[in-house]
């Protein structure tokens, strides 16, 4: 959705490069909401700068009327504060306009994966009073999605979040786990991993990952989960050397919206009530309180 025909063409055209995506267009937020009444989409991609309803207003309206449909923002320089507010109020993720060609499709895939939580255990998870889990995970990406799905179901079932926050929590936990796996345990930089997560998930060998797994065979990710009716706390710790957390300890860094590498931290800060690191920088604690 975009009021600019050129932007609409670029975003829609990139999405249509995927044969399994069906794309519908809207020129403004009101038009989008009317179209959604007729045919509910799996995901909405919108420019943050829009006439009639800007991205923040749309996100708020979507949360009321279409709480299960995630919104991805297209951000640009000059709209950082609006983008952060929209992330805090319900947007699922964002793609800087200058990175559309490389980041749009992977971001849509990530968001769709977070939304596709099956509701099979909803009655059961709704009956949980409190729960605790301690996981010790091998450095295997394939463990993340089932783990996140389990946690999303429990947090939602216990009434700690609505439909919108359910997939946002999933996305932020995924970012934290990816950070622990690649940046922490395997000491692989964001740049080194660029374009390799897809092949890795598809089971293809990725040489640097194989090499680092051999180099650090004993490293694990430890995750402690404490969920009660008031809040959910997730502590994710890796066995890596840690990193300097001074730059990520404050509120959301508006400049990070334009950087490829800072996205995980932006999403974690926007979606959780508290995000804290230990001194070494190899453990992050994420807290979500009941609204």
């Amino acid at each position: 959705m975009d009021d600019s025909a050129v932007d609409r063409q670029v975003v829609g055209g990139l999405l249509e490069q995927r044969a399994d995506f069906e794309v519908a267009y809207a020129e403004n937020g009101t038009d989008a909401l009317l179209k959604m009444e007729r045919s509910c989409p799996d995901v909405v991609v919108t420019d943050i700068n829009m006439p009639q309803k800007n991205g923040l207003e749309l996100v708020r309206a979507m949360r009321v009327h279409f709480g299960g449909v995630p919104v991805i923002l297209i951000t640009a320089q000059g709209s950082e504060e609006l983008a952060v507010q929209a992330l805090e109020h319900g947007a699922a993720s964002y793609v800087p306009k200058m990175m559309l060609s490389g980041k749009l499709i992977p971001t849509v895939d990530e968001v769709l994966a977070a939304v596709s939580v099956k509701r099979s255990y909803s009655r059961l998870t709704g009956s949980i009073d409190r729960t605790e889990f301690d996981f010790t995970l091998e450095n295997d990406l394939a463990l993340f999605d089932p783990l996140i799905e389990l946690l999303q179901q429990i947090v939602h079932g216990m009434g700690l979040c609505d439909d919108t926050d359910q997939f946002r929590i999933g996305m932020a936990l995924k970012e934290a786990l990816l950070n622990a796996l690649f940046r922490g345990n395997l000491e692989i930089t964001f740049q080194q991993m660029r374009g390799k997560v897809g092949p890795l998930l598809a089971g293809e060998p990725v040489p640097i990952v194989e090499e680092r797994r051999r180099q650090f065979p004993d490293r694990r990710i430890r995750m402690k989960v404490r969920i009660n009716p008031r809040q959910a706390e997730f502590v994710i710790r890796d066995d890596g050397r840690g990193f300097d957390t001074r730059n990520v300890a404050g509120p959301v860094d508006l400049g990070a919206l334009h950087a490829d590498a800072g996205r995980g931290i932006v999403l974690m800060r926007a979606f959780f009530d508290d995000v804290t690191y230990n001194e070494q920088g190899n453990e992050v604690t994420l807290v979500k309180r009941r609204a």
């Binding site: 009021d3 600019s4 025909a5 050129v6 932007d7 609409r8 063409q9 670029v10 055209g13 990139l14 490069q17 700068n49 006439p51 640009a76 320089q77 000059g78 306009k97 200058m98 990175m99 559309l100 060609s101 400049g255 334009h258 950087a259 490829d260």
Partner: protein, 140 residues
């Protein structure tokens, strides 16, 4: 990345269409990168730009004449982004300046800035017409 012209994607130097005075008006490397190499999509975007840019310029003229900062900001933002897709750094930077003026609500000088951006957009439009007519090969 943040040092790139606002709204334009990352990309290196490459073959570009000149304004006649040696300056680059279109950077086809950036344009092709924006569409992941999809030539049909590039044509679609060029057509959308030719349809939309006159409307944006008209809107900006009207907004400046009526001191409508909000409308100017929106139109300048759209023009900044759409010129950026073609690697038109100069036009994109000028549109960014207009957007910034509108955000500050300081429209003094906006008419002059707009007068400077109009010929840049016209040059870009001419090149895109040549491209759509098959007179320019973006891979060369």
């Amino acid at each position: 990345m943040t040092k790139q012209p606002s709204g334009s994607p990352a990309g290196g130097e490459g073959p570009a269409e000149s304004a006649g005075d040696g300056r680059k008006v279109v950077n086809w490397n950036i344009a092709l990168q924006c569409v992941n190499g999809d030539r049909q999509l590039l044509r679609d975007i060029a057509e959308a730009f030719l349809d939309e840019s006159p409307r944006l310029l008209t809107e900006m003229r009207r907004a400046i004449a009526s001191s409508d900062s909000r409308a100017l900001r929106r139109a300048a933002h759209s023009l900044k982004g759409s010129t950026g897709y073609f690697g038109s750094a100069r036009a994109s930077q000028m549109a960014a300046r207009l957007q910034s003026m509108a955000e500050r609500g300081e429209l003094t000088g906006a008419a002059d800035e707009l007068a400077a951006v109009e010929p840049e957009v016209a040059k870009l439009a001419r090149i895109l017409v040549d491209y759509l007519a098959g007179r320019i090969d973006p891979s060369k």
